[in-house]
């Protein structure tokens, strides 16, 4: 117990809270939570989170930097906005959850195997390359997200659906062929915009040391 205490003595310092305020989207709201628990009770995924939103806010204030940023919790948010609607303090919880996830990703602390994260990266990659979403490729990649064997299995299972979509012209098999599918006209411009945005974000990010201090 005593070692543990020692390790935790920097608890409730405001360092991580200040970091969240500076670097996370809508992060300045984290301190305003009054711990009523309405968000956790309203979240359809609440029971599946390791740390539902209320707890995340408390952890931020308790200076639990690593635990928050490496948590899978905020990746489970489906943007249903139940919590925002109900929070008596009008805290933009959904945005903060996504903000935290994205900040964790930028710092390389996000859990590698988290499926939402993996899908998010694929989606981003797809957009960045094409300037728009290619749903066919994204869908197939999603099947193979967890390896070749599982991908084949899923594709086989989904074949009847695919066939029906093909028949009703909802699915264009040619879009799967790299040089045939449609891309947006000036992809390089979009890529430049994204690069610029990244630059601005990086410049705005305040550097903090890791835990403690």
């Amino acid at each position: 117990m005593d070692d543990l205490n020692l390790a935790m003595r920097d608890r409730y310092r405001n360092n991580f809270l200040q970091e969240v305020e500076a670097n996370v989207e809508e992060g300045e709201w984290a301190k305003m939570c009054m711990q009523c628990g309405v968000c956790s009770g309203s979240c359809p995924f609440g029971p599946h989170w390791d740390h539902p939103p209320q707890e995340i806010f408390m952890m931020i204030r308790a200076n639990k930097r690593e635990e928050v940023l490496s948590s899978t919790s905020m990746w489970l948010c489906t943007s249903c906005y139940n919590c925002i609607v109900r929070c008596p303090r009008e805290i933009p919880i959904t945005h903060i959850m996504h903000g935290l996830a994205s900040y964790a990703q930028r710092l390389g602390l996000a859990p590698k195997e988290q499926p939402t994260r993996k899908f998010g990266l694929m989606f981003w990659d797809n957009i960045e390359k094409n300037g728009r979403v290619n749903e066919s490729i994204l869908g197939i990649k999603l099947y193979f997200m967890n390896g070749f064997k599982e991908g084949v299995k899923t594709a086989y299972k989904m074949a009847p659906v695919g066939w029906n979509m093909l028949r009703t012209k909802r699915f264009n098999p040619f879009a799967l062929i790299p040089f045939l599918h449609k891309r947006c006209k000036k992809r390089s411009d979009i890529q430049a915009i994204l690069r610029k945005a990244q630059q601005i974000e990086n410049a705005r990010t305040v550097r903090f040391g890791t835990a403690g201090g």
Partner: protein, 744 residues
């Protein structure tokens, strides 16, 4: 006024005329009630109706009035006449509205109305119109005990209303605890930042007010007399004592901070860096806007932890079981002292339930905006270690045991009332039934008022050492007439509440002294001129009245006869109910005025199958509840006869035994809630009645009667359905057990 001349006035409005045979009622009033004049009127409360009554009074034809119309609670303005005794026979709420409008019901309904007329006439005959007994000239001077925020505010309020005030303050300066604060929690919009206390201005205003005199270093060595003429000995430090006369007293003696030395587990006394909230105010005053320094080494505080509910809201031995109400907001304010001087200081407030009354919610939010950290957790201990404080707690949200290192710990301890001697204190070993936490809270046991009343030197307390002030219905009212409690002496409160309290208590005090000057009762029977007197020859000096009077109105003379102090009396009649030889009475309310009503009811013989149920209902709650039942047309048994009483405490058991001997089949008593959460307007009346009635079973058994025939209930004003149901239940009981054997 010697000759009794009764005038009975029967109203035919509101459906009474259609539902009842008023000619028959007129006959009853004239023949049985011996009314000299009986008149019927289409709408008695109309100008012409009222005028016809007034004409008879003015002509000297009547001096007792029976108004047979609506409830005594209705049309009180219209039926107010001077210099006569008035009785009200309740034909509307008491009869036609609670009975079905059917052919079959007619006979019993008419019998009901007839009885209420007989009762009205009987009551009128045994009442005399009360006249004022002016004890004193009006003394427009208020004594205020305590020179803190409550006392200062009260003095200024009294002065603004045109009265003189004297502040007696034990210490050498005015301002109390409020003067020891660096800032106060905000009391003005936008409720975001600590504000100046303003106490210096208040003191200056008091000192420059010609209507206010201040006695510092002074105590009260004796208080005698009664409202309108309190004689108070004020002793000053020099040893001189002078006696002054006051009309009313406000006890604004405030609180003593809980002794934090009782919290060694939280580090108090072990490290100078653990302070209570007042200790932090001292540090903040020293810093005066700059960085707050640690007491131990004078270094700037970088990390401060506030522990809420320290020794409060706790059932542990020696702790306070209650919440002191201001301390969450106070800690938020104190955290701001640090944040406002330097946002880099970490401030953590550890609470189990954050309570921010008043506009504290905005203040709480402002604290959060400034970066104060609020953590829900239970602090187990504070351990000083190498110059830092280790605060060990269980974080209730994250559900784990953690520790915080702090430079300074502030304990939010509570308020202990300065209420003087607990005159009802039971020796500790006799208090075995006390629930844990309800056990004794140690309080300074020096008397404050030194009343020379036979009931003890200070005001009675309700719970946890706070003076009893009936905060459900009548804040500031205490069990000592003309003495009002204001501020934290009656319940824990913050400064905003204190200011309201002081104003409220001052107005009550003014009301009391004005009423006393006119010989009128104080609240809740304010304006009542009647007053209890006793027949000395009959008195056995049993002292029941002196003991049972809830307001300490009765002293004893050297021969141990009771002395009734008129302006201390609230006119509840509890003494009248208590007196075993029935020598206490009021001019318009007496053992006779009710007893004769009971006798006047026509009791049918045992073969008639018509029982009679007597209901004695408290006029403050149960009687209005029955009136409201009538407004909702809730029907109840036609066998019932209801008599309103001033307080259930005024019920003399002779009424019950006489009724049963006289052929009534049952008696139902309805009073207010008693006990710790009492709603009795006279504090102890209902409790006394319940106690007395608990002894009635023996009497019933001697009479060979079933004990179910007499029931005592607590009925609230909102028990509209229940009140009428209780009557019907009793009718069903009589049905089951049969009529009384005492019919003649």
């Amino acid at each position: 006024m010697s000759e009794v001349k009764i005038g009975a006035y029967i109203c035919k409005g509101c459906g009474i005329g259609e539902r009842l045979d008023t000619d028959q009622l007129e006959q009853i009033a004239a023949r049985e009630g011996k009314a000299a004049i009986v008149r019927q009127h289409e709408f008695l409360c109309s100008t012409s109706g009222v005028q016809s009554i007034q004409n008879d009074i003015s002509a000297g034809d009547v001096n007792r009035i029976v108004i047979a119309a609506c409830s005594r609670r209705a049309k009180t303005e219209a039926f107010r006449f001077e210099n006569v005794a008035i009785s009200r026979a309740n034909l509307r709420e008491g009869v036609i509205w609670v009975r079905p409008d059917t052919e079959e019901a007619l006979e019993l309904t008419q019998e009901m109305a007839g009885d209420y007329l007989r009762m009205g006439c009987a009551e009128a005959k045994h009442m005399t119109p009360p006249s004022p007994h002016v004890e004193s000239t009006t003394t427009r001077e208020v004594l205020i005990v305590g020179g803190g925020l409550t006392g200062l505010t009260a003095a200024l309020e009294a002065s603004k209303a045109g009265y003189r005030a004297t502040i007696v303050e034990k210490s050498g300066e005015l301002g109390g605890w409020a003067a020891k604060l660096y800032r106060r929690t905000p009391h003005r919009s936008p409720y975001t930042d600590p504000q100046e206390t303003g106490i210096a201005d208040l003191i200056a205003a008091v000192q420059s007010d010609a209507n206010i005199s201040v006695q510092l270093d002074a105590t009260i060595t004796r208080t005698s007399g009664s409202p309108g003429r309190f004689f108070v000995d004020i002793a000053t430090e020099s040893g001189a004592t002078r006696t002054d006369r006051f009309g009313a007293i406000i006890q604004a003696t405030g609180f003593t901070p809980f002794d934090a030395n009782k919290l060694p587990e939280l580090g108090f006394g072990k490290s100078p860096d653990v302070v209570d909230q007042l200790g932090l105010e001292r540090l903040a005053r020293e810093a005066n806007g700059g960085p707050i320094k640690r007491p131990s080494d004078g270094k700037d505080v970088r990390n401060v932890v506030f522990v809420q509910c320290a020794g409060q809201r706790s059932q542990s031995e020696g702790h306070l079981p209650y919440c002191s109400g201001h301390c969450c907001n106070t800690s938020i304010k104190q955290a701001m002292y640090f944040k406002d001087a330097n946002p880099g200081v970490d401030t953590t407030i550890l609470y189990t339930d954050l309570r921010s009354p008043g506009n504290g919610e905005d203040f709480y939010r402002s604290g959060q905006k400034k970066g104060v950290i609020f953590t829900k957790g239970v602090v187990k201990e504070v351990v000083p270690e190498n110059g830092v404080l280790d605060v060990r707690l269980k974080d209730l949200i994250l559900d784990e045991d953690v520790a915080i290192r702090a430079d300074l710990v502030v304990l939010a301890t509570g308020m202990v009332a300065n209420s003087g001697v607990n005159i009802d204190a039971v020796p500790l070993d006799a208090d075995k039934d006390a629930k844990p936490g309800e056990a004794h809270i140690e309080i300074p046991i020096e008397s404050i008022l030194n009343l020379d009343y036979r009931q003890g030197p200070d005001m009675p307390q309700l719970r946890h050492g706070f003076n009893d002030s009936h905060f459900i219905c009548f804040p500031y009212e205490t069990q000592r007439t003309g003495i009002y409690a204001a501020g934290p002496v009656r319940r824990p409160m913050d400064m905003v509440q204190v200011v309201d309290d002081a104003a409220g208590a001052t107005l009550k005090a003014i009301q009391a002294l004005e009423n006393a000057g006119l010989g009128r009762a104080a609240h809740p029977r304010s304006g009542d001129l009647s007053f209890p007197s006793f027949r000395r020859e009959g008195c056995t000096q049993c002292k029941r009245c002196t003991v049972e009077c809830p307001f300490g109105a009765i002293d004893e003379d050297e021969k141990r006869y009771p002395i009734f102090n008129e302006s201390r009396c609230r006119r509840c009649g509890t003494c009248m109910g208590a007196c075993p030889v029935r020598v206490i009475s009021f001019e318009n309310y007496s053992v006779d005025s009710v007893g004769q009503q009971i006798k006047a009811v026509d009791i049918p013989d045992e073969f008639s199958e018509k029982p009679r149920i007597l209901v004695l209902a408290c006029e403050n709650d149960a009687y209005p509840a029955l009136d409201m039942a009538a407004m909702n047309r809730l029907e109840y048994s036609a066998f019932v006869r209801v008599i309103p009483v001033r307080c259930l405490g005024s019920v003399n058991t002779i009424w019950v035994t006489d009724a049963l001997n006289g052929g009534y089949d049952s008696v139902v008593l309805m009073g207010c809630q008693k006990g710790e959460n009492y709603q009795c307007h006279f504090v102890k009346g209902s409790e006394m009645a319940h106690y007395r009635m608990s002894k009635i079973d023996d009497t019933l058994q001697q009479l060979q009667m079933e004990t179910e025939r007499v029931c005592t209930y607590e009925v609230a004003i909102t028990d509209i359905h229940r009140a009428s149901q209780l009557i019907n239940d009793m009718a069903a009981t009589i049905d089951r057990i049969g009529l009384s054997p005492f019919k003649f």
